[in-house]
């Protein structure tokens, strides 16, 4: 996919230029979204992320600015299309399923008011197909109160996508889920966005959301976009403390080979056994889903055989630094690199080391002195495979 440049694009699906002042907070952002693209909007609490989504959805009116989709003006001076006519969906932290309607009726509601408008019988049948897609076949008759939080959020995803939005806004959709449910939901969102070809903007302060879901990242700070680019590029060179804190992890974006992740420079990262299982190629999508994305069945199979993109994530404190090649029995990732930077870090000294991407190790000042490390020193780095988590992209 050709990704749109930051501020303008000939083929942009959505273009936004928004200004809003509320008390001491002021927001001023410009960005575009390409067709089929998923953009992650990263930022600390209070940076204005949710406000941006409300402005796009038409739930808040900006002081000045414009929003266009496919060239159609939604927001402009003297023009404001109401939320129900925008075809911009919203999935928040809370599922907000209509409590008096069953899971099926919740999804059918979206189908009956969306475009194309279905009649009651068609909507019920189509709603059941949507529940099937989010793994909830058989739950159609359940009222929201009888479903778990994770199940409710899956129904909410089905409902949001069933409305056929041109852009889906995701406002920290995993934030209210527990640690076991969140990864499943994240994968489900990834799959469903891809299968339906839905363009999306996800607001998050979890780096994993950006790594797994987004093609591109924009960083919002105090109401302004201060950085933008691919996830790896933005995190590799943090431009503000928030991004640096996010980048407090090592992020290796590469491809899957034999259950491990291969970095752009060829280093292989073995990962936790549980995550390695998830990296094995996905079975090809059923023909009817492949057709929905505009791919033929053979193309879909072909893409499953080519190296799948994935990311490895591990903490700098998990990186062991030595000056001689270590010999270990346990499964480890071991490589040599040059020291390219020595900086104070939150937990001691941060050691930047060469490679594509660069890897950061964190160690105590005493250890740095003991090892006699300087800029340009050659070191051996190792990370236990069990310390490396992995995500499909």
């Amino acid at each position: 996919m050709t990704l749109a440049p930051w501020k303008s694009a000939a083929n942009a699906l959505l273009e936004a230029n928004l200004q809003l002042t509320r008390g001491s907070f002021s927001l001023d952002v410009r960005f575009v979204l390409a067709p089929g693209e998923v953009l992650a909007l990263l930022g600390p609490n209070g940076s204005g992320k949710s406000t941006v989504l409300d402005l796009l959805a038409g739930l808040t009116v900006p002081d000045t600015g414009t929003v266009t989709i496919d060239g159609a003006v939604l927001t402009a001076p003297g023009r404001f299309v109401p939320p129900e006519k925008r075809a911009i969906g919203l999935l928040g932290q809370e599922p907000l399923l209509f409590p008096h309607l069953s899971a099926r009726a919740n999804v059918a509601f979206a189908l009956r008011v969306g475009a194309p408008r279905l009649n009651a019988a068609e909507a019920r049948a189509e709603a059941d197909r949507w529940l099937d897609r989010v793994g909830l076949s058989g739950f159609g008759g359940s009222l929201p109160g009888a479903l778990s939080g994770g199940q409710q959020q899956r129904v909410a995803l089905a409902r949001a996508l069933a409305a056929g939005p041109r852009v889906l806004l995701l406002d920290e959709p995993m934030a209210a889920l527990d640690a076991e449910t969140a990864p499943f939901m994240r994968q489900l969102i990834r799959e469903q966005l891809a299968e339906t070809g839905t363009s999306a903007i996800i607001v998050t302060h979890d780096i994993v959301d950006a790594v797994v879901l987004a093609h591109r990242v924009a960083v919002l700070h105090d109401g302004s976009l201060i950085d933008e680019g691919t996830t790896a590029a933005v995190l590799a060179a943090p431009r503000n403390p928030f991004v640096a804190a996010l980048a407090g992890v090592n992020l290796v974006v590469g491809t899957v080979q034999n259950g491990a992740i291969v970095a752009p420079d060829g280093r292989t990262f073995w990962v936790r056994p549980a995550d390695a299982r998830d990296l094995t190629p996905v079975p090809p999508a059923p023909a009817h889903l492949a057709n929905m994305t505009g791919l033929s069945a053979t193309q879909a199979v072909g893409s499953a055989n080519s190296p799948a993109p994935a990311a490895a994530v591990f903490r700098p404190a998990s990186v062991v630094v030595q000056t001689e090649q270590p010999r270990h029995a346990s499964p480890r990732n071991v490589w040599s690199a040059r020291v390219t930077g020595i900086e104070p870090g939150s937990g001691g000294v941060r050691l930047r080391t060469s490679g594509e991407p660069e890897i950061i190790a964190e160690l105590t000042p005493a250890a740095v002195a003991d090892l006699g490390l300087q800029l340009g020193s050659t070191v051996w780095l190792s990370v236990k495979a069990t310390e490396v988590s992995a995500y499909r992209r």
Binding site: P83, A110, V113
Partner: protein, 260 residues
């Protein structure tokens, strides 16, 4: 973990509410009751009361629900003002309400004279009964529904809008069902209030048998009237209590079945 001291006032309070009704039951001449209740003097006011209170309740719903929506979705300052205006009839003695209605719609009243020119005379008609009942019952419905609307919030409505639902659809399919329990409670309250309405009706609609003599007025007439025993008043009161209990039971079971 209730402080023991509270039991005494609690018991007295309960006794104050229950004992008078028990006293009424003891006072009833059960042998004479069937004849008293089946007499036209009892059935006519009962029919008129049920009819006018039902019509009033429908008006309360038609006017009160939209009013509640407007108040609940207004900015805080405007909502506070509207809420105060709606609450005034609630705290006003109904007799004053009756005088106020006469001042507006009666002879010499601002609207009354205009209507009279158009050939419409409202005071001392069945229409006046309905207007008086709606006047006193409407605040109950508005307050109940408005509270439910504010509790429900606008989050579900916003979600429905982002799914593409227009305002009318959202109102009928999301907002109204969400405030269902509050709406039911408000309807019951306003029907009960309309059924028991006396003061405003007496002044604004009068006490004409078959036209404006509702149950409360019939009870008053029976109690004060010459040549009629208070037994009639007691019997009519019993009838009104029975109607109220039946409504509460019906609503209670429906509510339970909705919740289960």
């Amino acid at each position: 973990m209730i402080p023991r001291l509270l039991y005494l006032p609690a018991s007295i309070g309960l006794a104050l509410l229950v004992l008078p009704l028990a006293g009424l039951l003891l006072r009833v001449d059960w042998l004479a009751l069937p004849a008293l209740l089946l007499s036209p003097e009892a059935l006519q006011p009962l029919g008129l009361s049920l009819a006018t209170a039902s019509v009033s309740t429908v008006f309360c719903l038609l006017l009160g629900v939209p009013l509640a929506v407007v108040i609940a979705r207004s900015r805080p300052r405007g909502a506070g003002l509207l809420r105060a205006l709606v609450t005034v009839p609630l705290v006003l003695p109904p007799l004053v309400g009756g005088i106020a209605l006469l001042s507006l719609l009666g002879r010499g009243g601002v609207l009354g004279d205009t209507l009279e020119l158009a050939g419409l005379r409202i005071p001392f008609t069945t229409a006046a009964v309905v207007i008086a009942q709606t006047f006193v019952a409407l605040p109950f419905l508005v307050i109940a529904v408005e509270g439910a609307l504010r509790t429900a919030g606008i989050r579900y409505e916003r979600v429905a809008a982002t799914l593409g639902a227009g305002r009318g659809t959202v109102f009928l399919r999301i907002t109204l069902p969400l405030v269902g329990p509050g709406l039911l409670a408000g309807t019951v309250l306003s029907f009960a209030r309309a059924l028991g309405e006396f003061g405003a009706t007496a002044l604004f609609a009068g006490n004409q048998a078959g036209v404006t003599r509702t149950m409360p007025l019939a009870i008053y007439t029976a109690f004060n009237g010459s040549g009629v025993t208070t037994d009639q008043a007691v019997a009519l009161s019993l009838l009104l209590i029975a109607v109220a209990v039946i409504i509460l039971v019906l609503v209670g079971t429906r509510r339970a079945s909705v919740l289960s």
